[in-house]
């Protein structure tokens, strides 16, 4: 069926790009986290 690619594609786009975003947030926070000691983080 022709539509199948579109339907699967939209799920892939949705969760794929969110995963990429999560990865970038985690990467950035790890890099920043190296220079901030744990006790200075208000949420810990």
């Amino acid at each position: 069926m022709d539509d199948l690619g579109f339907i699967l594609g939209s799920y892939v786009v949705t969760f794929g790009s969110i995963s990429l975003y999560v990865a970038s947030v985690v990467r950035r926070s790890r890099r920043a986290g190296r220079d901030v000691p744990r006790e200075q983080r208000p949420w810990t």
Partner: protein, 247 residues
Amino acid sequence: MTTTSERNVTGTSFTRGLGIVTLLGIVLLVVLGLFVSPADVNQGESVRIMYAHVPGAWLAYLAFVVTGISSAAYLWKRTRSLTWDRIAGASAEVGVLFMGISLVTGSLWGRITWGTYWTWDARLTTTAFLFVTYVGYLAVRGLGGSHHQRARRSAVLALLAVLEIPLVHFSVRLWNTLHQEASVAGRGTDVTMDGLMLFSLFLGVIVFTLMYVWLVLHRQRALALQDMVEDSGLDAALAARRAEAVV
């Protein structure tokens, strides 16, 4: 201090729990949306896109509302705190992400049901303008300056965006109703929801809300970390400059 191996920087037990629930929800949503829920009478299988598209679009709008409210909270003297600014920024970023995704999934859905990727429907056009506006907002956030400069500038901009949205929406709608007879509705695209479909959509909204909260929490904390890194960089630079004066 240099715990380079540290993996979980912005997480707490709450966000970890939230993350697990969200992941389970996503799995359930995909299974329900793609396999279990029935095809629509009119739309056929393509209705499955709805479970990813509609919640994403709604949450994007919600994210921009949150950005507006936190910007106002920053500007109001009694609640002024950089946390509000970071929530506004994080929320706008997640909103742009969700809205970008919805524009793509929406056009895929449109291609199947309307036979076209894009239509100049009022809601769609407003959404596109909203997307560009918040891309601009994020660009302004990246302009630099001190934390409070950034916060003030972007908060004013966010409130201007709140003013802009109804104007754009209203003008596009007026334009649309007067000049576009062939509307999207009435071309066999109506969805007749049965119980399971409604439940899947409902689940989608919940899953996207959880995802939104998780993302904003983490992003907001990552922004806080970046601000702290800049501050501690200042400490080091300050010490270096003071040492310069002694010589």
